[in-house]
Each structure stands twice: as C-alpha cells, then as structure tokens.
C-alpha cells in the first residue's frame, strides 16, 4: 500500500466512523486486502460476443481508393481540380495546403465485386477479396487528427494526447488473462514494414491502469520477451533454485508481515519462470505443418515479418491471449503511391486473409474479433505533381475504410458510404470513439461503465463519447444488445 492509499483509507475511515461506522470499516478492511494482492479481473457486463481480439494496425494510413472504396469519378476527372464545394473550406496539412491546385487522382488499380455479398475490393488485395464474405467493411470511419502521432495515439488509446491506457490494456483490465502462463495483451511489430513513421511504446502502454495490463512486445529471435533467457552462467536448475529460494524468503516475510502482496509477488515470480518455457514454445512455429506456411505464405517462415506475426497471433489467440495487436508500418503514401502501395499490399494481403481463414477453420473466428485499419484515410487529390503514372495522397481524416470480422460482427456487409469524390461521409458515420464502444460491446462491456478512477475522476476508453454502432453487429448479437438499451 503506498502513502496515497493509506491516506485514502484514513480519510474513508474517518468518514465511515462519522457515518455508518461498523459497516464502513468492515468494507474498508476487505478493500485494503484486495488492493494488497492482485487486482481481480472485472466480469463482463453482459454476455460477450467475442473473447479475444486481434487488431491488424496498418500504420501510416492506407488509401481507401486503392483498397476498399473505389471511386470511378476520380478516374473520369483525373487531373481536374478538387471542387471547393467538396473540400468545404477544410484546413489541409502543411504538406499539400500550399499547392496551387489540388488535382483529383484516379486509382491506378482496378476494383471488382467479390463474394456472394458482391463487395468491391481492389485487385491489389486478391487474397482479402476471397474472404470478403467474412468481412464487415466500414467505409465511413472518421477521426479528428490529421497527423500521424495524434491520430495513431487516438486510435490506440482513445485520446490524441498521450498518457491514456491502450485499448488492449482496457481489455486486459476488464477480462484478465485466459492463460496462466502468458500475458493478456501482446504486441507484434512487423520488421518488413517501411519505417517511414515511428511507433511509440505508449501505443500499447498502460497509462494509469496497473502495469500488469501493459502490452508485452514479443520480438523475433531467441528471447521474444526481454530478459526471458537466463543470464550467462546461470543454468536452468539454478534459476529454479532461485525461485525456490524466493519462495522460502517470501514465506518467512509473509509470516512476519502478513501482507498478501508478498504472496502475489511470489506468484508473479513463478509466472516469470513458467513464461521462460511458455513464451519460446508459442513463438516457435517450426512445428507448424507446411500447409500452414502455404496458407500464410513463405514470408511466415521469416520471424518478425507481418506474415510470421499473423501466424504467431493465431498461436497466441489459441492459447488464450486476450488482445493481440500487430503493427505494420509503411502505409504513408505521400508520393510514389502506385509502387509503394503495391508493396504494402503484397507484404500483408495473403497473411491477413490467411489469419481469418485459419481462425475460422479452427472454430476460433466465432469468438475472435479481427480488426483491420489505419489511423486515417488519404486525399482524393494528388499531393505534389500528378504524373502520367505516378501520384501521392496526403492525410485525410474525414473518411476512410476499416474492416471487422468474426466475433459477432455482421459478415459480408458494407456499412456507410462516402461521396463520389471519396472526400466526405454521406451516411453511417463511425467515429473512433464509436469503434471503441462497439469493440468493448462485443467483448461484453458497456463502454460507459468500464472505468478507472484517476486524478479524481472516472476515465473510460471512450472518454465521454462513443456509441455502439449496432449496424455492425451480426444478427445473433442484436437481441442480447437490446436488453441493455
């Protein structure tokens, strides 16, 4: 118990004494006991639609025009200036705001309808096109930030200003871990994404939530979690002897101090010891059959690539990890879009589709939510010079596309639409807060009631905003949700 807790308890004790003394003090004693040990996981508020989440974060802001929201008009009017009426006085970034003209840029890639649902997908994503009947494509996301850092922080933590807990930390806080030997929130950063915009550890940080909910980054190589391996000269038997010695020290300390936090520390030391075998086991994909590598692609054999991380994500989810977040950088096509976006799609398309397929055939897709998307969209106009076969697009927060799959979402469905320039949302707007509210809803939480008291007020992932977007929920999810209206 730290000084503030002690003070808190004293203040409460005084209040309780002045008020309803005996009852208040009894509850108090219980609270301090609980605070001394592990924070218990909260129970879901209602029956969850999914038990775990895999979030495929495409960092940089993938262009909707060349992926999931094709706009034939831009091809027809290629090179013509963006009408002022469409822009509506929007303040642009310093990167394209001073351009003399803002020429419309038609997509270099063709798109066609796929699946029974007939959803349009670009030819750059042939594998994703094959699973489109599993997807709920949302063409009407919008955000408040126009630059990477605030926009990605907003998506990952619900606030543009850093310091709040990541969404995976909220999920871990709400649900706890389903595996005694692995962390609840795991982060994987692809090594093959172009490092054009940096990522930050705060994107999977725990903010003011307790540190055990922090995202644990698994890195490629012999020691996937930092300091997992024994130091040189310490054998496995000696590490076991160290844990035994710790147990004896802690037994003695507990007998003298009587603080349950001492038992909790020993429990965590033993978990650390178990992780020394469970983490290398889950990270080692060599036992996977060849057929799996055909599904995910040959890149999955190279640890740390997006494809390898998709496969690792499936192995983590299978073992009960609650929230796996992949980051793939390099989607920031200000220029040279045709070549660079093609590369991005080639790095990710097959493995993304493979993950959805693999989860489905293992019976995990029903209760696993898959999310794909970046931090904002891209402009309908070209940034810089519009060449005959080359162009770039600037950041665009007003509308962009993401998709969800599995875990209680409506499959084979397109939600929302944008105008024929792909510049403004026409209907079905989904704000970042709304996405968070919907994700928490699928996990069984009322986003307004999953809170943590900090600096004198209750904080939520959605701050004071957000609404559950019921149109994204699968039919089976609807009756359950209505009970709680």
């Amino acid at each position: 118990m730290n000084a503030f807790d002690r003070l808190d308890v004293l203040c409460r004790a005084r209040r309780a004494f002045l008020g309803r003394a005996s009852l208040g003090l009894g509850a108090l004693a219980l609270r301090s006991l609980v605070r001394g040990g592990d924070e218990p996981a909260r129970a879901p508020h209602f029956a969850p639609r999914c038990k775990r989440v895999v979030y495929l974060f495409q960092a940089g802001g993938p262009s909707p025009f060349e992926t999931f929201d094709p706009k034939p008009l831009l091809r027809e009017r290629h090179g013509e200036p963006l009408p002022d009426s469409v822009r509506g006085g929007q303040r642009l970034t310093g990167m394209s705001g001073n351009q003399a003209i803002l020429p419309l840029a038609g997509s270099f890639a063709a798109a066609r309808r796929h699946g029974r649902a007939g959803i349009e997908v670009s030819d750059l994503l042939p594998h994703t096109a094959c699973i489109v009947d599993r997807l709920c494509v949302v063409r009407s996301l919008h955000t408040e930030a126009i630059n990477h850092d605030p926009a990605i922080t907003f998506f990952c933590t619900g606030s543009q200003i850093s310091g709040r807990p990541a969404m995976g930390a909220w999920a871990a806080y709400g649900l706890g871990s389903d595996n005694r030997d692995l962390p609840a929130f795991v982060v994987l950063v692809s090594k093959d994404g172009a490092r054009d915009q940096p990522l930050y550890a705060r994107l999977w940080g725990t903010g003011f939530l307790p540190g055990e909910y922090q995202g644990v980054q698994f890195r490629p190589g012999a020691s996937p979690v930092l300091f997992l391996a024994n130091p040189d000269g310490v054998s496995e038997a000696q590490r076991a002897a160290q844990i035994d010695a710790l147990a004896a020290l802690h037994r003695d300390q507990l007998a003298h101090e009587g603080d349950p936090a001492i038992e909790a520390r020993q429990a965590q030391a033993e978990l650390a010891f178990r992780m020394q075998s469970s983490v290398p086991e889950v990270a080692d994909v060599s036992s996977e059959p060849d057929e799996v590598f055909r599904l995910y692609g040959d890149r999955a054999r190279d640890p740390g690539t997006y494809a390898a991380n998709c496969l690792l994500a499936r192995r983590l989810l299978e073992r009960g990890v609650r929230f796996v977040q992949l980051f793939h950088q390099g989607w920031d096509q200000h220029g040279n879009l045709p070549a660079d976006l093609t590369r991005q799609c080639q790095q990710t398309d097959q493995a993304t589709a493979a993950l959805v397929t693999d989860l489905e055939r293992r019976g995990l897709l029903d209760d696993t939510l898959v999310v794909w998307g970046g931090e904002f969209g891209r402009t309908a106009y070209c940034q810089g010079r519009l060449a005959k076969d080359n162009y770039g697009r600037d950041h665009h927060p007003r509308c962009f596309t993401m998709w969800l799959a599995g875990g209680g979402v409506r499959a084979g469905h397109v939600h929302g639409s944008t105008d024929e320039f792909g510049y403004n949302i026409v209907d079905g707007a989904v704000h970042v807060h709304d996405l968070h509210a919907t994700m928490l809803h699928l996990l069984g939480f009322d986003h307004e009631r999953l809170t943590w008291r900090f600096q004198g007020r209750d904080y939520r992932l959605t701050d004071v905003f957000g609404r559950v977007v019921r149109e994204l929920l699968g039919s089976s999810a609807l009756p359950e949700a209505e009970e709680w209206d």
Binding site: S162, P198, L199, Q238, Q242, A245, L246, D252, Q253, A264
Partner: protein
C-alpha cells in the same frame, strides 16, 4: 548516460527514425546512477518501464506499485541488475575474516537494510550451496535477494 539495453530495442519497437538505434555506453558511464539514464519517450528504458517508471508524458502525483512477471525477469536477468549483483558479491567475498553466513548476511543487509532472520539465512544457504564457485554462488544470492519483497518493498 546509456546503460545496457538489449540490442535493437528502438528498431524493433518501430521507434527508430532514420535507422538510429541505441548504443550503450561502455566503461564507467554504463554504471552511473539511473538518474542520468538517457530516456527516449517513444521507447523508454525497458527496466524502468517494467519497474513502474512513469512514461513522463503526463504529471503523475501518485506512483504505481505493480507486481508483474516482467519485474522478476528484469531483476534476475537484466545485465543492469546482474552486474550489480556481481559487484555486490565481489564486495561480500572480499570481507576480511568473514565466515560464509556473515557474507550472506552482508549481501542481504546491503539490499534489505536489515539483518536476515534465521529462516531467510537458511534459504540463502541452500541457494548458495547450488554453485561451487564462491563468487558465482554469492552473485546468485545477491540477484535473488534483489527480486525479493524484503529488498523491493519498504516495510
């Protein structure tokens, strides 16, 4: 001052812009107090992060006190701590005229600021006996005491 960090940490977290990666100092600089440690907010020092160091992004009036398996891994495996354990073991080994128990008690008292109780001393004796080399045995003991409640929590 840049103490030890596992190689490629900035790169692997995606925080290395322009390919810059962390280059640990060598020599005495690597062993200065963590007060002087170089901090990159986008990829904070991993040991401080595990041990409830704040992110330094918002003002924090109340420090967290958490308890995670990563803390045990840091305390038992991070060279920043294992080198401290080695140095403390060397000091204990060099105590003139001390017997085995006195060396164990010295290690314990240095970290926990009190003399060990008999039960604690017995636990350290058993651990000490698992390694024949006297310096390495004391290092093992120092490292273990570092990860124990007696050393970590002010009571």
């Amino acid at each position: 001052v840049k103490p030890y960090q596992p190689p490629g940490l900035w790169r692997d977290s995606g925080a290395a812009w322009g390919g810059a990666d962390y280059k640990p100092d060598t020599g005495p600089d690597a062993h200065r107090r963590s007060l002087y440690t170089f901090r990159k907010r986008t990829a904070p020092p991993p040991d401080m992060q595990a041990l409830d160091g704040t992110s330094r992004e918002v003002c924090v009036a109340r420090r967290q006190e958490t308890n995670t398996p990563l803390q045990t891994l840091v305390l038992l495996g991070d060279p920043v701590f294992t080198e401290c354990a080695q140095a403390l073991a060397a000091k204990a080994a060099a105590l003139p005229g001390a017997d085995a128990d006195a060396r164990l008690a010295f290690v314990f008292a240095s970290l926990a600021t009190r003399t060990p109780r008999e039960g604690e001393l017995a636990a350290l004796r058993a651990l000490h006996a698992t390694e024949a080399d006297p310096l390495r045995a004391l290092t093992l003991v120092a490292s273990t005491v570092m990860a124990s409640d007696a050393a970590m929590v002010l009571r």
